[in-house]
């Protein structure tokens, strides 16, 4: 699967107009550079070889563990990834934690208060959260909390005087909250419907007939069972977050892999685009596998290899 996808991505990149050199040399300066010098640059970067030759060189190098170098700046791709992936993971995980806690809590509340004003309000908020694009929330948040009140930094992840994790908290609040917003809405809707489904089951009635306190019925009996589809949803969210935080990274100048991906695509930096794409593919495939295993673990009905 990975080989097929890598070929398709490489092929797609090859179809895009221009190459790394045409990005490096602006149109205005290109008018003053001789074609021979441009040719020398293309030769030096190996851009004059045919598509298949370039793909083969890239693939065999990868298989040998040599991921290559960014064409634009000559930095080893593994170094770029080592620097950018932690930033994206940090943002994604914080967003995932926030959205999971908030989404599940509000979903349960909504289910328990079904038909009430609280339920209706949360349903409307959930729809809004899912429907309105993230960048809009991001811009509104920057306008209010960054520019008007100046409570939070408008962008960036680190500063020279940041030494501890605590120093970095103000920088991550806005991007992670915005990223978590849409996810919260989704998790809330899932939790609500799952909880409602569970609350109508026979074993809940049995628990009530035993005189158990309501909180115990809802949380220990109800929510635990309702959790299965929510876990699947959250599991699928992590790879999506890693790839899907690109816009938030752009708006908040967050130095993550999504930001780098956009830059490398714009610069036709083939080696970097390829490795980031493959990383996304790998993460999604791995997450799918883990979710299958986790689902089987939580839900006894989903046991692989058993009748």
């Amino acid at each position: 699967m990975i080989f097929v996808i890598s070929f398709l991505v490489y092929f797609g990149l090859d179809l895009t107009p221009g190459d790394a050199v045409s990005h490096m040399i602006s149109p205005e300066l290109a008018a003053t550079i001789t074609p021979e010098k441009l040719e020398a640059m293309r030769e030096a970067y190996g851009l004059n070889a045919t598509f298949l030759e370039r793909y083969w060189i890239w693939l065999t190098s990868c298989l040998k563990g040599d991921f290559g170098y960014s064409m634009a700046g000559g930095v080893a791709i593994k170094d770029i990834m080592v620097k950018t992936i932690p930033a994206t993971l940090e943002l994604s995980i914080v967003a995932l934690i926030i959205s999971t806690i908030l989404g599940c809590s509000l979903g349960i509340l909504s289910a328990l208060k079904k038909g009430s004003a609280t339920d209706s309000g949360l349903t409307v908020a959930g729809m809004a959260g899912v429907s309105i694009p993230e960048f809009f929330f991001a811009l509104v948040a920057i306008l209010i909390f960054g520019m008007h009140f100046q409570w939070l930094p408008v962008g960036g992840r680190l500063l020279p005087h940041y030494e501890t994790l605590l120093d970095r908290i103000p920088n991550i609040i806005m991007p992670s909250m915005v990223l978590a917003l849409a996810l919260t809405a989704g998790a809330m809707r899932y939790s609500r419907s799952s909880m409602l489904d569970v609350l109508s089951r026979e074993f809940i009635k049995t628990a009530r007939s035993k005189g158990l306190p309501e909180w115990r019925i809802n949380i220990l009996h109800g929510f635990r069972v309702a959790l299965t589809p929510v876990v699947v949803l959250i599991g699928f969210r992590l790879p999506l977050l890693i790839g899907g935080s690109t816009i938030i990274e752009q708006v908040f100048q967050w130095p993550g892999i999504g930001n780098m991906f956009i830059r490398s695509v714009r610069a036709s930096d083939y080696p970097l685009v390829m490795m980031i794409s493959l990383m996304y593919v790998f993460v999604v495939l791995t997450a799918s596998l883990l979710i299958d295993l986790l689902t089987a673990l939580i839900d006894p009905r989903v046991r692989l290899g058993k009748e």
């Binding site: 045409s22 602006s26 290109a30 550079i33 441009l38 700046g73 920057i142 960054g146 962008g155 100048q253």
Partner: protein, 536 residues
């Protein structure tokens, strides 16, 4: 009396004939007819565009050259005149069914709006036009020159091109019109001779009449339709006081006296920090903050690049009367940021490296390729450059040129000297790919202390700097002109200095109580290139 009238009539008739002959298409492309090109220029109401789209923040252009001492006082008037445009088109038998294909390479909304405005104005005089954004290898699609630089056909496929020519030295505006070098305008011996003249001296007073001549010729021929001169806007927060330091063309390096600036907070925040690497300083000469503060040059220019040239790292310099020999003596005690000595050997190394490196500003490329022995060195037939001689102990280096470069002194106000100890043995074709550009070491007023790529770069004062020691740090974020983060950062108090050419930014910055902008006239001309070769 009758004889006199007859003679005058004959002369007038001949003049009329000559005029008629020259004012017609020279090939199958109707745009080769000067009357059509004049009509297109006259169809555009640049004053209206200036006051609406550009909020009066541009200067309407009347030639390629910006306003200044080299501007000819005798240029033809192509200001908005739709009736005259219609008459010229009728006279030239313009094909009303022809649709002019216009290309541009700026992806911003303002450019699209400008294209729409020009399209409407052309329609008013009966000229149809479409426009499209070039993508991919824009340089090749825009600038490929025909094999036959006189008769064509064109090597590129468009009728009009909207773009800019930014120049530090005035010759840059015309040198590309030499036969065989221009993608739109067929070469001719007269133009070639005029180009030779404007490159024949380093003395501006000598060159002035030649610039007048070439400007008048080009505008009579209307090889291009000049639209406007773009301004550059320097913005500063109230945290910064230049302390009398000059404002100049911030795209390049000039004497801005940064070591004497006062910064209230002790840290000056700015943009153009690195995302993945620090760009080498010989391409976009002063675009990035590190170009200006980490690296140093032998000479220094005034705010208008190429004027008021003085010394920086050089203690003195001397140029021969014929302009073919230039020597420098370095100031004593110059150091790199790592504490090692900076010598004339580094200067020689930098010149040799620049001869082979392809990603190079035209100004620098022209100077280094003019040095005696440069060609043989660049093509690998020799290991050294015979035109460069130096004496480390005396701190002296002399450079001999094979041909006159009228802007050689300007080059040395922009040409950053790089450390041989860090870059020796490098493949010049991959200069930018060297690890040096992850943490560059220069000899400028500030040295890099810490960098987190795509996050920030912190520069601290260089205590060994020959021009005094600043008393503030510089913190650069990875934000650029037109990327949307400038306004956000400025509004949040994260921007103390920078420059932009975006007029929308200027309005937003001026609305902030803590920010000011200062307009600087720069040589940056936006124009319509007109394809005069036959279609490919």
């Amino acid at each position: 009396m009758k004889k006199l009238i007859a003679v005058i009539s004959l002369v007038l008739a001949q003049l009329l004939f000559v005029s008629t002959v020259s004012a017609q298409a020279t090939n199958s492309n109707q745009l080769s007819d000067p009357r059509v090109r004049q009509a297109l220029c006259m169809a555009i109401d640049m004053e209206l565009i200036k006051s609406t789209l550009f909020e009066d923040q541009i200067i309407v252009a009347d030639s390629l050259l910006p306003n200044g001492p080299m501007k000819s006082p005798n240029l033809p008037d192509y200001s908005y005149n739709p009736e005259k445009a219609k008459a010229l088109l009728a006279e030239a038998n313009w094909d009303n069914d022809r649709v002019l294909d216009t290309v541009f390479y700026y992806g911003d909304q303002l450019t699209s709006d400008l294209m729409a405005a020009i399209q409407g104005m052309f329609a008013d005089v009966g000229v149809k036009m479409t426009y499209r954004l070039l993508q991919g290898d824009v340089g090749a699609q825009l600038n490929s020159v025909p094999e036959d630089g006189v008769n064509g056909p064109a090597a590129v496929d468009y009728d009009l091109g909207y773009g800019a020519r930014g120049a530090m030295v005035m010759q840059e505006y015309y040198n590309t019109f030499k036969t065989g070098l221009n993608p739109q305008t067929p070469g001719n011996p007269k133009m070639d001779a005029m180009i030779e003249k404007i490159n024949s001296s380093a003395d501006p007073e000598v060159l002035k009449p030649y610039f007048f001549e070439i400007q008048e010729y080009q505008m009579n021929e209307v090889n291009i339709c000049p639209l406007y001169y773009q301004k550059l806007f320097i913005y500063e927060s109230d945290n910064v006081d230049r302390n009398g330091g000059a404002y100049g063309n911030a795209q390049y390096n000039y004497n801005w006296d940064i070591t004497n600036w006062k910064v209230n907070t002790g840290t000056m925040q700015t943009n153009t920090g690195p995302t993945e690497f620090f760009e080498q300083p010989w391409y976009n000469l002063g675009l990035w903050i590190h170009n200006k503060i980490v690296f140093d040059r032998l000479l220094v220019s005034g705010g208008a690049i190429g004027t008021d040239i003085g010394v920086s790292m050089a203690e003195s310099y001397e140029m021969s009367a014929d302009g073919l020999n230039l020597s420098f003596k370095l100031k004593p005690g110059l150091k790199w940021h790592d504490g090692t000595d900076l010598t004339v050997k580094d200067v020689a190394f930098s010149l040799r490296l620049a001869m082979k490196s392809p990603q190079m500003h035209a100004l620098v490329g022209n100077t280094v390729s003019s040095i005696v022995g440069a060609e043989a060195f660049a093509n690998g037939s020799t290991d050294d450059v015979s035109g460069i001689k130096y004496n480390i102990a005396n701190r002296e280096i002399s450079i001999e040129f094979a041909k006159l470069d009228p802007n050689v002194l300007t080059t040395f106000t922009q040409f950053a000297i790089l450390p041989e100890s860090q870059l020796a043995g490098i493949d010049p074709a991959q200069l930018q790919q060297h690890p040096f550009w992850q943490f560059p070491i220069g000899s400028g007023a500030f040295k890099l202390e810490e960098v987190k790529m795509n996050d920030f770069a912190k520069f601290v004062p260089n205590e060994d700097y020959h021009g005094g020691v600043a008393n503030f740090d510089v913190l650069a974020y990875p934000s650029y002109d037109g990327d949307g983060n400038l306004i956000k950062n400025a509004a949040a108090g994260k921007m103390d200095y920078g420059f932009t050419k975006n007029v929308a930014d200027v309005g937003a910055l001026n609305a902030m109580s803590n920010m000011m902008t200062k307009a600087v006239d720069i040589p940056y001309t936006r124009m319509l290139w007109i394809m005069q070769y036959p279609k490919p």
